[in-house]
Amino acid sequence: MRLSIRWIRAMFRKELRDYRRNAQMIVTMAYLPLIFLIQPLVVLFKVPASTAQQISEAPVLLYMLAIPALAPGTVAAYSVVGERVQGTLEPVLTTPIRREELLLGKALAVFVPSVAISFAVFAFFIVCVELFTPPGIAAALVQGPELLAQVVFTPLLAGCSIWIGVAISTRSSDVRTAQGFSLLATVPLAVPTTLMAFKVIPATLGVAFGFAAILLVVDGLGWRLISATFDRERLIAGTR
């Protein structure tokens, strides 16, 4: 099957326009990144310069990967059930668009802003650390491998989180319930990086590669699997 870029782009643009004007979605996109930005900043502003050595020994920044792991899923959980509740899903499903393109367009509309927000929050965090933390803390905290991990894992985690959210969204009939379940279901995604940040799991190159490979496979399979189980009939009639 050859994907139609035009259909994907049409859904992507429509979703972005809709999200941009939806206050509820903006709040949903903002609150988790803010929590994961403010909490570590408050901690770091208080730590004395003498703890720099201690900080340098743990990949603390990986903790911030919780943003792409949790936030996109909550937004993606709105994507299908939101349309269903508003009554806009049926007109879309009467057009020639295939479920693969429909879901990919919707996923990309969450993926792009989520990854952009994650990187922006991370950059803001680094700037704050450089400017406002005691001397030595910034140098101990900001290390090459961790920056690379942010660049690699942010899109991979966001992708996984989105497919979990979309999967829940296609099976739900209420937006709030879908978002609640999605947040719960994406928590395990944040566990490995958080455990590395707290030195429970060693942050070695092998572990990183293994985790990245798993995420990559889940991203690809997620799209295929959710597309295969996307059932117009159930979504329209609520039954089979």
Partner: protein, 326 residues
């Protein structure tokens, strides 16, 4: 509707626009509709009538490939109705659901641009403009849909359905919930589309709407009760009758009407009104007139009794109710 589109569509029009054979849809034990068989020609405006829960919307959704039929077959716009042909069928038809289903935070033109892309129209901006002109909304293109009245939203939904120049246009209760003025506007639009040669499948329970707009109607109540032109259905269901009104009641109406040629029966319908059932209007009307004159009756009028589509509908639904009771 563009003439070039109609011309190209004509080239594919060997068979009917819709051909349905023994189509049924069940949801578990519940029958939505059963054993539907009918055909609709290209350019026809076809009314699909029935009470709530009769299966009208489910039929539209099934023919529009949103639901899979349980049994039976259909050809929609020349394509066999199968799961594999879903995309191709949806390219050729458009469905306007009962609820407009617009993105309320998007403007009218943003809504339509999205669907123009989904229908892969060659020049989306131009097509959106033309569709808006067709529904008299060109000056509201930048309005946010959430700010529009229900009637205007319905018009936007109709414009959306026209974007692809569909071979078959399904309109599911297009005037449901509209005030008389807004409903009248939508009627005008549908009538102009019909005159333009668009094949329209109109579901409604507004009988005057069907009578005014449709070439043929079908009455559905889970199964197809009847199908035909509104006047055909009237003739089929109701005997021909003449209504005679006189200034004063006739002293002996039995003597006046009995034994006249082509008169089958009569009954009084009011103080000085008589309904005479006849087998042939052309024979009976002069004979009745002569008999009334002979009887020295003061005749106010003699007219053909008119039965509306509503009478047909109520008769059929009542018949079915009685059949269920017995």
């Amino acid at each position: 509707m563009s003439s070039e589109r109609l011309a190209s569509a004509d080239g594919n029009r060997g068979g009917p626009a819709l051909s349905v054979h023994g189509l049924s849809k069940r949801f578990g034990d519940r029958v939505a509709f059963q054993d539907l068989s009918f055909e609709i020609g290209y350019g026809e405006v076809f009314g699909f009538l029935g009470p709530n829960g009769a299966g009208k919307t489910t039929t539209v959704r099934t023919l529009g490939t949103l639901l899979r039929p349980t049994s039976g077959s259909a050809i929609v716009a020349g394509i066999p109705l199968t799961h594999e042909n879903g995309v191709e069928i949806r390219r050729r038809v458009a469905i306007m659901p009962e609820s407009p289903g617009l993105y309320l935070r998007l403007s009218v033109s943003e809504n339509l641009e999205c669907f123009a892309d989904l229908y892969e129209t060659p020049d989306p901006k131009d097509r959106v403009e033309r569709a808006l002109h067709a529904v008299n909304l060109a000056n509201r293109a930048n309005d946010i849909c959430g700010t529009l009245s229900k009637g205007l939203r319905q018009r936007v939904a109709l414009a959306r359905a026209l974007l692809s120049d569909p071979e078959v246009l399904f309109l599911d209760e297009p005037t449901a919930g509209l005030d008389p003025v807004a409903a009248h506007d939508v009627h005008e639009l549908i009538a102009s589309l019909g005159r333009g040669g668009v094949t329209i499948f109109l579901t409604t329970h507004r009988l005057e709407e069907a009578e005014r707009l449709c070439d043929r109607v079908a009455i559905l109540n889970t199964t197809l009760r009847t199908i035909g032109r509104p006047d055909e259905l009237r003739d089929r269901l109701f005997a021909k009758a003449l209504t005679v009104k006189t200034l004063a009641p006739l002293t002996d109406p039995g003597y006046v009407f009995a034994g006249l040629p082509a008169v089958e029966s009569w009954h009084q319908d009011g103080q000085a009104t008589y309904v005479v059932v006849v087998s042939d209007l052309a024979t009976a009307a002069p004979a009745i007139t002569r008999a009334l004159v002979t009887a020295d009756a003061h005749v106010l009028s003699i007219s053909e009794s008119h039965h509306s589509l509503e009478d047909v509908y109520l008769e059929l639904i009542a018949e079915e109710g009685e059949a269920r009771v017995t």
